[in-house]
Point group: C2
Chain length 420, copies 2
Amino acid sequence: MQSGYSNGYGGGHTHSRRRSHRSATGGVYRVCSSTLSPPPTAPSTPSTTSYTHSNYTDTETAVASMWEGYDEAYFQSYANVGIHQEMIKDRIRTDTYKAAIMRHQNLISGKVVMDVGCGTGILSIFCAQAGASRVYAIEASDIAMQANEIVKENDLSDRITVIHSRVEEVEIEEKVDVIISEWMGYALLYETMLPSVIYARDKWLKPGGLILPSHAMLYMAPVTNSERYHETIDFWRNVYGINMSALIPLAKQCAFEEPVTETISGENVLTWPFMVKYIDCYTVTARELESITARYKLSAIMSAPLHGFAFWFEVEFNGPITFSSNNNMGFRFQHGTDNGSNHKKRRQSDTIVLSTAPEETPTHWQQTILYFYEPIDVRQDQIIEGSITISQSKENHRFLNVHLEYSTAGRSFVKESVMR
Amino acid sequence: MQSGYSNGYGGGHTHSRRRSHRSATGGVYRVCSSTLSPPPTAPSTPSTTSYTHSNYTDTETAVASMWEGYDEAYFQSYANVGIHQEMIKDRIRTDTYKAAIMRHQNLISGKVVMDVGCGTGILSIFCAQAGASRVYAIEASDIAMQANEIVKENDLSDRITVIHSRVEEVEIEEKVDVIISEWMGYALLYETMLPSVIYARDKWLKPGGLILPSHAMLYMAPVTNSERYHETIDFWRNVYGINMSALIPLAKQCAFEEPVTETISGENVLTWPFMVKYIDCYTVTARELESITARYKLSAIMSAPLHGFAFWFEVEFNGPITFSSNNNMGFRFQHGTDNGSNHKKRRQSDTIVLSTAPEETPTHWQQTILYFYEPIDVRQDQIIEGSITISQSKENHRFLNVHLEYSTAGRSFVKESVMR
């Protein structure tokens, strides 16, 4: 197991995006204010801001207020430089975005771009380098102040406008030709940032405009990981000659109750991957992301103990041409009812893809693993089937509830967990 | 830089002992209850228990109540199995304790032992294996329940009594011959657990009894770590060809405002180590640990940029014989006023030592580094001098305030920070 992308920034108490408190092996980022004042503490009771919710019921207003409190902590976690360094240093991520921008230079040069959640502004600067006439770089966290300084120091103030705001509250004078955003969280949907991109698309993108990335796919597969199970659970059977098995139930709960973020390899994967969700960023709605359910039926490609399920994602950077051609289907995934249709989709050979799959070079997203308390022995060709539901938590819309049903060899199980 | 001792237990929001939120590279442990109920949340406002503080002023009562709230979160962090696995898997730690118990078998066999903060009970079981007639295994966190199960499963219930309590509230029928405890935190004093051992010593240890470990030494030394500084700070000077130096002030604050826990090597150390504090566990008082100040004057053994100071500790496992012989001094450290006296003390060749020094095999304690925002170039033989004060935080007595003054080549600096 690789320990991933640790670096030297301090730990903290607030919600971090990619290396959250969920992280099994990685650090967390403490709050350090971009204004260089003493670090503020995250709100223990969510604060209510002055936004009006005149169309909401009282309950909806209360939930919205609570979420604003969580959002404040969420955005503040992005004021720590460490998280930005971790993302930028992930070359798979940054190189792929840069390549995608350069590939679509003809659609960016001389055009207006919006960067949703610009962070340090690196993608906005790439777009300016690709010839964008204007980039609106939107960032809700305090890192926006540094992004603005970076833009100035690189003499790009005439073309990049940093706006310190949630994208939902931005007011600009024009519509945009391109929306770019790096919105993906663990297991794609953790953080629930995509709805902000959808909001920006519906409000600010010109018809026929470009969205980067254009498509996203969430995958899952059963995995085997005896080494991990042995280290974490079997360890207690013999500790310096002492039988400490009494700790095993608690060890399972501590280690496996919630999804964990860690790097596995292609050799851990027990079946062909199953595509849980295919997202067309041009057409997806926020509502359809609130709860996603899919049924799967998979066949083991080897005999091994089944320890859990892994989740990962890929995003593609296709131009809008694939959106409007061929009856809106282009070469993209054809959703069907046969079992094969939710496997890896056909793809043009020159499509730019950012993949976080176990068989690819590890990224800072790693994979998200939902371990079972008990392994299940499966034989080659044995069927593993069931359903998966991933829904936004009512407790905090940036958390995910994961409801996994799985059956094999006549036994059925349910695993409920929360990515928080 | 080594990433240390990560393992597969989930992160969480509560105060963890050795892999706290301060940790730069390591994971944190989420709360998972030993009773296997849903994980409780740490108190956002410290709870007040029913203890009476009749001798306290109102302010003292308020502070005591607040600390009880912090203590609750502190103890709860030890209910996560991961932290115990991390400690047990640290072979330097566990092997040394086991060797020390076996070395003093003649003082343990047939005797009564108290294990302060027994965790899973492993040291209590080692003592039973060494022939202790009775071991009182005291543990305030809920892991006590599992410790009790482990004792039962190993047929040691007749000799080991697990008591789920803070040691300050324990009532037993007899005094003890031996106190054993693994109380050391980062930079020795983080966690402030030693006062509980002192309390147990004063209340329960027979005159002439044995304390393991018997002595502890906190060291510090100036360090150079260009690689770390380069990765964390200089990184921003050129990011994909973009000048992001505007982030450097914030990067310094995020990375270096507070002490960090990481593993360095002997090659990072710029002078002979300075002993900040020598603790004789037979005689030390809780009061003298509240604030420790020492003046140092050190000479660089090489020319290099000075990036900060490292802190680490050693503990020794001497028998009580060294306590009573030679006018209470034995072969132990002779405190003096010459500069040499705070360097490494003389030691008998067969003394059992648990060392967390940079030149030794890394432990889960790693080293604690206080980095400066600006490196200072020093030449070989250049003097670095000043003072260090480490005191318990009034905010949370388990945190430490660190006040470091340092002067070299005619320039003077002060660094204030908090280990939280």
